[in-house]
Amino acid sequence: MTIEITDKTYNGEFVKKIEEIGGKDFHKCMQCGTCTGSCPMTYRMDISPRKIIHLSKFGLKEKVSGYNTAWICASCHSCEVRCPRSIDIPKIMEAIRQVTLRQNINYIEPSEISEDILHDLPQIALVGCFRKHTS
């Protein structure tokens, strides 16, 4: 995977937003990959948690927002409890999701969920999902 990084690809507003919502700690990331090794969902992510943190530091908004990584994260905190730099990675994932959701863009459309599935699911699945995946 080759990604072009220049002064023109750096989106300072995006980095500021991530800092505001998720805190500045992600700048301390040393790219050890413990988060990726701890994540039970990595294998279904477009790119790993380690890489998404790296790309966020470089302000690559379109890339970071375009990958499914933050949407697949279920905030299980496995990465956070093991991070040697004490970075709250689920918080960064939340910030990445929020950057998209606050533009009124949903990851899932509740109206498209079939009646059968709606009746089958426990309430906490729906409320949890709508809170994390809709604006």
């Binding site: 956070e80 599935i117 699911l121 426990p122 699945a125 949890g128």
Partner: protein
């Protein structure tokens, strides 16, 4: 004794088996679970965004009402309610700025500063009932039953609100031993079941859940127990083609071991594999 009880939404609807087995078991142990007289949904998942205070209102309202009703503790059994209430409580205890904004926003409730302790039933059984007392109360010890305890995520992470330290998980093991079963440690005991991803990404959810059940089975478990309606849905109730390990709420095997009737266990709300397993294994007990 009595304890303020917060059931949460799903325990009143899809997870009545978790609710009734909890209340009946506590009653059997001479503890009245007094439901908080007015409660609302906790919000299920804590918002992790630093600037999102609105989503703290729902859990804090429940805690403030528990305080108003004179309680020093609030008991939950749903793992997700536990985490959401505990994380909101921590913010109200430690973040003065956010606390003031939230207290100013809530007009109906009195000021709240994290005075009520959020307690999960497993910790309550250890600290308030005690394993020795529980052992004495057991009428039908689950002798020989190999039980895999599934913590999942929200009971133990983040570390600050976990019901016990991640490095020394003993609560479930001691509980299983107290009711006569054999605890089966397995590698996926603290792995995420995929949670609400079952709505957005069901295929991923099925893969992850099957992996957890397979792990417990490979390590010799007869059944898997949890305390979360979403874990129970993902691992047990959700229909998958392959017949897998039976799953139950820990409160159901508690009720069973205390000799409570079927109406307290509500096995009919579990998966077919759980129903069949228990009807076969405990046919003399369950009519």
């Amino acid at each position: 004794m009595d304890i303020c009880y917060y059931p949460g939404c799903t325990l009143k609807t899809k997870a009545k088996n978790l609710n009734l087995s909890t209340i009946s078991s506590l009653a059997n142990l001479d503890i009245e679970a007094k439901e908080l007289s007015r409660w609302n949904c906790c919000g299920v998942v804590p918002s992790l965004a630093s600037d999102d205070l609105l989503r703290l209102i729902a859990p804090v309202r429940n805690l403030a009402r528990a305080k108003e009703e004179g309680y020093s503790q609030i008991l939950t059994v749903c793992s997700m309610c536990y985490q959401t209430l505990a994380m909101a409580n921590q913010i109200m205890q430690e973040d003065m700025e956010k606390r003031d904004i939230i207290n100013n926003f809530m007009e109906e409730e009195g000021d709240y500063s994290g005075e009520v302790k959020v307690v999960h039933l497993l910790g309550f059984l250890r600290d308030e009932v005690g394993w020795d007392r529980l052992k004495i109360a057991v009428k039908i010890p689950l002798v020989g039953l190999k039980v895999a305890p599934y913590y999942g995520c929200t009971l133990i992470r983040p570390r600050q609100v976990g019901i016990e330290p991640l490095e020394s998980l003993t609560l479930f093991r001691d509980f299983i031993t107290a009711i006569g079963g054999i605890p089966v440690d397995f590698p996926s005991s603290t792995e995420c079941c995929s949670s609400y991803q079952v709505v957005s990404n069901p295929e991923i959810s099925d893969e992850v859940s099957s992996g957890i059940l397979k792990s417990a089975e490979e390590w010799g478990a007869d059944i898997l127990i949890s305390s979360c309606p979403l874990c129970e849905y993902n691992l047990g109730l959700r229909k998958r083609e392959k017949k897998e390990l039976p799953t139950l709420y820990f409160t159901q095997i508690l009720a069973l071991s205390l000799g409570l009737d079927e109406g307290s266990i509500n096995l009919e709300l579990n998966s077919d594999s759980a129903i069949n397993f228990f009807k076969e294994k405990f046919k003399d007990v369950l009519c």
